[in-house]
């Protein structure tokens, strides 16, 4: 890993809302957002942990989870998820996007038998990937059923206080 960092690498951070930021390794104190460069400094000390210094103000930042190039960070108490891409992986993403047939609909089914406690979305509302849509009580535990995609809710079949069987349709999402 150390050898990778010796030469400068240009990388991109792609947020879950498809915003793109570019930066280079080793990290210089500037980040390009859109067409402008911003000066930021990444620092750490005993008292604040890791923080970003921007315009003389400190913004605490913490990595909650990371798995290879996927990161979930807590910045100013708001969590963000993003992936880090190299020029090649970004190019690959474009190649695949053009060749893949697009899936337009996602159906959320009950993962196991249980009782619907709450439905958190309405028809027409938008959801982001990882947002809870339904709360299902099963095995005496309240389970959050999360949206696997970003999209718009087209149909809500789940009703609070009703029992569902495994694989019953709960929500339909249009991408």
């Amino acid at each position: 890993m150390a050898s990778d960092k010796l030469h400068i690498k240009k990388l991109y951070a792609l947020s879950s809302e498809n915003r793109k930021f570019s930066f280079s390794l080793p990290l210089k104190h500037s980040i390009r957002i859109g067409k402008r460069d911003y000066e930021v400094k990444l620092k750490a000390d005993e008292k604040y942990g890791t923080y970003i210094l921007w315009k003389n103000r400190k913004y605490p930042v913490e990595i909650i989870r990371s798995s290879q190039n996927k990161y979930e960070i807590l910045f100013n108490d708001i969590s963000y998820t993003f992936t880090v891409e190299t020029p090649f992986s970004l190019q690959r993403m474009k190649v695949l996007k053009s060749s893949r047939s697009k899936i337009e609909q996602e159906i959320i089914k009950a993962p196991m038998p249980g009782k619907i406690i709450d439905v958190l979305v309405r028809e027409g509302s938008t959801v982001l990937r990882g947002e809870p849509v339904v709360i299902l009580e099963a095995m005496k535990m309240q389970n959050e059923i999360l949206s696997p995609v970003n999209g718009t809710i087209v149909k809500v079949l789940a009703k609070p206080n009703t029992n569902v069987m495994k694989d019953d349709l709960l929500v339909e999402i249009k991408l």
Partner: protein
Amino acid sequence: MDLSGKSYKAFIDREEALKKQYSAKNAEKQHSKGKLTAHERINLLFDAGSFEEIDAFVTPASQPVEFGKVERTYGDGVIAGHGKINGRLVFAYAQDFTIMGGSLGLVHSKKITKIQEMALKMGAPIIGLMDSGGARIQEGVASLSGYASIFHNIISSSGIIPQISVIMGPAAGGAVYSPALTDFVFMVNHTSYMFVTGPNVVKEVLNEDVTSDGLGGAEVHARKSGVAHMIYDDEENTILALKKFLSYLPSNNVENPPVVADDGSINDINEKLRDIVPDDPNKAYDVKDVINQTVDRNSFFETSELFGASLVTGFGRLRGKTIGIVANQPKVLAGVLDIDSSTKGARFIRFCDAFNIPILTFEDVPGFLPGVDQEHAGIIRHGAKLLFAYSEATVPKITIILRKAYGGAFIVMNSKFLGGDFSFAWPSAEIAVMGPDGAVAILYRKELAESKNPVELKKELVKKYRDKIANPFIADESGYIDEVIDPAMTRKKVISAFNALNNKWVKVPARKHGNMPL
């Protein structure tokens, strides 16, 4: 330099011809599919300049009967050799799709078996980067026997050296069993497929319409079949993740896992652990928060993340030493043990046991998943695998009961009398034969039926059950667990317990092998 010397000229010519073979045109073909070439993959995987190729100039075996075209190329569609990954010796082979579709002929397979035998002899991990159209039809049975000898070598090396497959293109028919036999399978999303029979045959025989991706894509194998352990969105990240993954593993079954420097950023006494488990036993939480606050910072590497997700498995480090982690995940299906999670856990534990990796278990399990679906699919037989694996493992084993520990699932999750070395419990633990609601309904059925206010009575009895039975103190006072600990002390306790177990030695009676309920 004067190269008019005859032997040198032939040597140089051959080198030139080999270089020409890997033309930019072929590379472009791979790139346009979003794939890298075999050489690019090898270069990404190994430390710069450390890879040494063997058998680069072999040519395809002669055909028994002229049928179809065979290109007379060097290497026979596979690059094999050894090199250093993060300074450690690793053997690898990479199939080259640009040469005869990476198809497996006799010579191709001989290169692979040669490198497999070397890896076993040297006690070093072996990695297969697969991108192949399958058996070379022109070579007939010779190519099939090639597959068989590759499989046989994998099985002979199993449990002696770590064997990892990375699927970077198609793997169909017999080819799928080579990765299936290895310890871990990495796949690249959208460009790799694995299936025993492809979509065309499925359509012909069963009249079912399905795409390659839908039949055996990375997502399918990571989520549904459990064949793929790790999937990533592109090849670069797959290879980088693989390099990180290797840093947790020993080179063979005699060595201990490598130790890395711990930056000391996680305190041994960590108060954050006190606030993760909610007071309400019906509320879920993410057990990965518990794991991340216990192991060295950012050291948790999850395996089979999407498959059987009600059980979390993965590697982590404690003061720089590798441990295997198995944890019930209350956030997914309440953390139940079902068929998928049991088999996933069992396989992971057996890997850890084979490669001297101590196992840390976080337990919060309401039980095995009930229902016709699971019973008919054989939850008894599959759950038994997990039981078998835990009990059979002789590496140091520590359990921390976070909350629920009920019934059969309590026994299975590395309980003390199943051979667990240390059993700790948080004060929030509930250890009993069954949950309060179930127990009360059985023991006080008559009273509840006759009561004028059954709801109130039940509530009262549940509270009594929780106070008197479903807590960690009775188990502690009677020696069924070792200690009830303050959650904040978890890391400290676990580190010192693993240190105490450092020289653990178990005498195993001689036998050919146990009879695991497969």
